[in-house]
Amino acid sequence: MSINKDTVKYTAALGRIELSEKEIEHFTGQLDKILDYVHKLKKVDVSKLEPTSHVLEMKNVYREDKVKPSLPVDDVMKNAPAREKNLFKVGKIIE
């Protein structure tokens, strides 16, 4: 078994997704199968390999330190689900 219900629960919490019991059950089975498939990578000897995070051989791409116009504040706020004047509003941050 590559992954169990508890791990799925923990991972869902890490990813901030609320799942029903049914979903946890369902996903655990599916993810387990997928991870079993993915285990074929164990056959490869990776000891001398460098990871490829970027396919391009590029480096040192910069922008100059010049100020550019920002978005008009109306454009910034128009998709906001909740706002107070020009501030985004969210509920209480319960620690």
């Binding site: 991972t11 609320e18 996903f27 990871p51 490829t52 909740a82 509920g91």
Partner: protein, 492 residues
């Protein structure tokens, strides 16, 4: 009453102005007519709008179509109409990635490719349907319901750019943009009988493309033929200072370069792509295509890309890991869905994402989060990145000797709606031939190369060296000119 599509092969060289259906023509043909003054761009737009009105109820390829807005745009922009996949930002237009979590979202900016199209006077017709956040190979995970394959409305069009491919195939679009992370432009192109091109990673700016997997994504083209792909590619390519991963290389005049012949080109046929038990009709169509290429002067040889078998596994760790991070911003704070009835911010996050994401999105976020999490990072994510190096090297080694690589686009033709939704892994294996190109960052194009007995399209994939789109398009063009698969059209 649902009308079943009929296959009609028709030569489109003669255009009778009185009976012409402009929507059936290719972009380069229309450009020719426009330049001669035979038609107006408004004629073209109206033809497309009519087609959408007639066909899209059955196809469900276009989402949030705003007829009035389109007519307004058609008056202002004097170019060809184009459809845009719903994960590419168009300013103030609904851009939802076919997901409930982005319901109502109107980006305050245009993607760079959109700016380029607007500068070229393109008329933005609307957004096309897709798998939610590009997670899929069938367009079945869309919150708007699946798009149907125009060749058989009981089948899927492929994915995730299923809407764009279906539109072009049904002549509801002249051409369209899609995105390709593991095959999402090429595979639906293959299944819908159109040309689908994924450029080299870095050829086209990703600024404004809502990210799935940042190191794999590229915006691509869905067109009726190769010449159109070449024209559209040139329009959207080029360095973008807003995208650190876009390369500063001159953009060739692809449409000109593809007309050279392919005599003497060395083509590799990887044995790993002709697997035991693959669809016999597909195998035959592809082998016939290879013979055709040889008759055009290309030299075809068997080669091996030995690490092909690991590509799907690598992809479903690397791509989902990046996706889990890219999708973390969908939390109800600044845009999109926000769950109601919540107790505080953490609850808001959890419920918004629980309600807003579909199953496949949740699965991939879970998988990606898991692969990156403490204790599993080395065994999964890091290992996958290392095996990716081997897959990339397979291509680099092959391209030392060969100019291009020829494979089937998809292991199966279009399958029935619902056929593969029960088992995610079965769906993932649909991308088995297209995924490696994204992992290596190389360009690939799918061109029609036949039909099955059930009249389902078969796609031929041509993979090339990094930034060598001209060679793969040249091969595709020459093949097209010697066949007429791409001319077969539906009466829909």
């Amino acid at each position: 009453m649902r009308r079943l599509p009929r296959l009609v092969a028709y030569a489109s060289t003669q255009v009778n102005k009185l009976t012409m259906e402009l929507n059936k023509l290719s972009a380069h043909e229309l450009i020719g007519l426009l330049n001669k003054g035979d038609i107006s761009h408004l004629d073209i737009c109206n033809s497309i709008i009519d087609s959408v009105d007639k066909k899209d109820k059955s196809l469900n390829a276009v989402v949030n179509f705003d007829r009035d807005k389109v007519l307004e745009r058609a008056k202002a922009q004097k170019g060809l109409p184009v459809f845009i996949k719903d994960n590419i930002c168009v300013k103030d237009e609904l851009t939802t990635c076919s997901s409930n979590i982005l319901k109502g979202f109107r980006p305050p900016y245009n993607a760079t490719v959109i700016e380029k199209l607007l500068k070229a006077n393109a008329v933005l017709m609307g957004k096309t349907n897709m798998d939610e956040f590009a997670f899929g190979s069938s367009t079945e995970t869309s919150c708007y319901g699946t798009t149907k394959n125009p060749w058989d409305l009981t089948r899927i069009p492929g994915g995730s750019s299923g809407g764009s491919a279906a539109c072009v195939a049904a002549d509801s679009a002249i051409w369209a943009l899609g995105s390709d992370t593991g095959g999402s432009v090429r595979q639906p192109a293959g299944l819908c009988g159109v040309v689908g091109l994924k450029p080299t990673y870095g050829r086209v700016s990703r600024y404004g493309l809502i990210a799935f997997a940042s190191s794999l994504d590229q915006i691509g083209t869905l067109t009726k033929d190769t010449e159109d792909a070449a024209i559209l590619l040139k329009m959207i390519s080029g360095h973008d200072p807003m995208d650190s991963t876009s390369v500063d290389r001159p953009v060739p005049d692809y449409a000109k370069l593809i007309k050279k012949d392919i005599k003497g080109l060395k083509l590799g046929i990887p044995k790993e792509y002709f697997i035991e038990g693959m669809d016999k009709e597909i195998k035959q169509s592809v082998l016939d295509a290879i013979k055709k290429l040889e008759s055009l002067g290309a030299v075809c040889e068997n080669i091996s890309l030995p690490h092909t078998e690991y590509a799907v596994a690598v992809y479903y760790l690397v791509a989902t890991a990046e996706a889990s991070s890219n999708l973390a911003r969908f939390d109800g704070v600044q845009y999109g869905l926000r769950a109601s009835q919540v107790k505080g911010v953490i609850d808001m996050h959890k419920k918004t994402r629980g309600e807003g994401f579909g199953d496949e999105a949740k699965r991939r976020i879970l998988l990606g989060t898991f692969a990156l999490s403490s204790g599993y990072y080395d065994a999964y994510y890091l290992r996958a990145l290392k095996v990716r190096t081997l897959i990339k090297k397979d291509f680099e080694d092959a391209f030392k000797k060969y100019d291009a690589i020829i494979t089937p686009t998809s292991p199966t033709p279009a399958f029935k709606i619902g056929e593969k939704t029960q088992d995610p892994l079965t769906m993932y294996l649909c991308d088995i031939f297209t995924i490696s190109a994204n992992l290596a960052g190389i360009p690939g194009v799918s061109v029609p190369c036949g039909f099955t007995k059930s009249n389902l399209p078969v796609g031929l994939q041509i993979l090339g060296k990094a930034f060598d789109e001209e060679t793969i398009l040249r091969i595709a063009y020459n093949y097209e000119q010697a066949t007429d698969w791409h001319k077969k059209r539906l009466i829909f």
